[in-house]
C-alpha cells in the first residue's frame, strides 16, 4: 500500500476542492504560516480513516469540520474527503485485490447525514476499519502524531501505551 493522493472539499478551512499528490518514495514536507490549514490536513486524514470524536478534531461537534464560511465566502453544506492508495502487489484483503488503486471517502452533510465509501461504493465504517487492520493506520495507530501530542506516549498511562503495541501485533 502506498499513499497516492488526498482530496478535500468543504472540509474545515478548505472551501474549494483541493488535491495533494504525494510522492511515492521519500519525505513530503508541508509548510505555511500559522493558521493557514496545515493541521486541518492531518484532521482530514484522521477523519476519513474513521475518527469518531469531534473533540479529537478540535471541534465541539462533528459539524465543525464543515467549512464554516469566511468574510468572503458562505458556509459550505458538505464536507468531503477522499484518500487514495496504490495497491501495487494487490496486497489488500481479498475483496479489493483486483483493484490497483483503493480510495476511501467520507462525506458529512450539514443535515447530519454522513456516509463512507470505498472506491465510490457506499460501505460501513467497519469496512474501512477492516481495510486498514494490521497496517498501523487509523484508530489507535502509531502512524499519525498530531501537533503538540508527541510526548503523549511518554506521559500517557501504561494501558494506553499497550494499545500502541497491540496495533503492531
Amino acid at each position: 500500500m502506498r499513499l497516492l493522493r488526498l482530496e478535500l472539499a468543504g472540509f474545515k478551512s478548505f472551501p474549494d476542492k483541493v488535491s495533494i499528490d504525494f510522492i511515492q518514495d521519500g519525505v513530503s514536507i508541508v509548510v505555511g504560516p500559522n493558521g493557514c490549514g496545515k493541521s486541518n490536513i492531518v484532521d482530514a486524514i484522521r477523519w476519513v480513516l474513521g475518527e469518531q470524536s469531534a473533540k479529537h478534531l478540535r471541534g465541539a461537534q462533528m459539524e465543525d469540520v464543515i467549512f464554516g464560511g469566511s468574510t468572503s465566502r458562505p458556509a459550505a453544506g458538505l464536507a468531503q474527503v477522499t484518500l487514495s492508495f496504490a495497491n501495487p502487489e494487490h496486497d489488500s484483503i481479498n475483496k479489493y485485490s483486483e483493484f490497483s488503486e483503493i480510495s476511501v471517502t467520507r462525506k458529512l452533510f450539514r443535515t447530519g447525514e454522513s456516509l463512507y465509501q470505498i472506491n465510490k461504493t457506499n460501505c460501513r465504517l467497519s469496512d474501512i476499519r477492516e481495510l486498514f487492520m494490521d497496517t498501523g493506520i487509523g484508530g489507535k495507530g502509531y502512524s499519525i502524531i498530531e501537533q503538540g501530542k508527541i510526548d503523549r506516549i511518554v506521559t500517557s498511562s501504561a494501558l494506553e501505551r499497550r494499545a500502541l503495541i497491540d496495533e503492531a501485533a
Binding site: R2, L3, S13, F14, P15, D16, V18, I20, D21, F22, I23, Q24, D25, G26, V27, S28, I29, V30, V31, G32, P33, G35, G37, K38, S39, N40, I41, V42, G69, S70, T71, S72, R73, F85, T135, G136, I137, G141, Y142, S143, I144, I145, E146, Q147, G148, I150, D151, R152, I153, V154, T155, A158, L159, R161, R162, L164, I165, D166, A168, A169
Partner: protein
C-alpha cells in the same frame, strides 16, 4: 493472543533499546510490563535514563528529552512493522539543533519502507524533503495547497509583512 503480544512486545523492546542510545548519544531505555503475569491486560511502562543521569521518574525529563524518547519508541515500532505512511505534525518544535539533526537522519533511514509527511516550520527539517507543499490563505479564511520547489518554499514561509507587523 497472549503469545502474539508477547512476541511483538519483545521485538519492539529490542528495537527501542537499540534506538534510544542512538538518539541520546548514550544512556539506556527499555519497556517493562506493568504485570508480567497477565499478558492479556498488562500495561507497558517506559524506563529511560539519558547519559550521565540516574534512573528517574519520566515526568522529570525535559521537553526535548520526552519528545526524543517518544520518537525513539514510535520509530522502534516502525522498524518492527512499518506502516505505509507516517504523518508528523511539528514534532521537531521542542528539539535543539543536535536532536533535530538526529531526528532528520533517522527519518531518512525509515523512508525505505514508509512514506513520510512532515509538517514543520524548521528550515533544517525542510532540507530532508523530497517534495514540498505549501498551504496558503492568500484569500483570508480559505486554504489552498500549492506544490513548491525547494527554493520557493523558503519564500512561502516568509509571508509578506502584513500591516501591524
Amino acid at each position: 493472543s497472549k503469545k502474539r503480544f508477547n512476541e511483538v512486545y519483545k521485538r519492539i523492546n529490542v528495537e527501542f533499546r537499540a534506538l534510544f542510545p542512538k538518539f541520546f548519544g548514550g544512556g539506556e531505555a527499555f519497556l517493562k510490563l506493568s504485570d508480567p503475569e497477565d499478558l492479556l491486560d498488562s500495561g507497558v511502562e517506559i524506563i529511560a535514563q539519558p547519559p550521565g543521569k540516574t534512573m528517574q521518574n519520566l515526568t522529570l525529563l525535559s521537553g526535548g528529552e520526552k519528545a526524543m524518547t517518544a520518537l525513539a519508541l514510535i520509530f522502534a515500532i516502525f522498524q518492527f512493522k512499518p506502516s505505509p505512511f507516517c504523518l508528523l505534525d511539528e514534532v521537531d518544535a521542542p528539539l535543539d539543533d543536535a536532536n533535530n539533526h538526529r531526528f532528520n537522519a533517522h527519518v531518512r533511514l525509515l523512508t525505505e519502507n514508509s512514506q513520510f509527511i512532515i509538517i514543520t516550520h524548521n528550515k533544517k527539517t525542510m532540507e530532508i524533503g523530497d517534495a514540498m507543499f505549501g498551504v496558503t490563505m492568500e484569500e483570508p479564511g480559505s486554504s489552498k495547497v500549492v506544490s513548491v520547489d525547494f527554493e520557493r518554499g523558503q519564500k512561502l514561509i516568509e509571508p509578506p509583512r502584513r500591516k501591524g507587523a
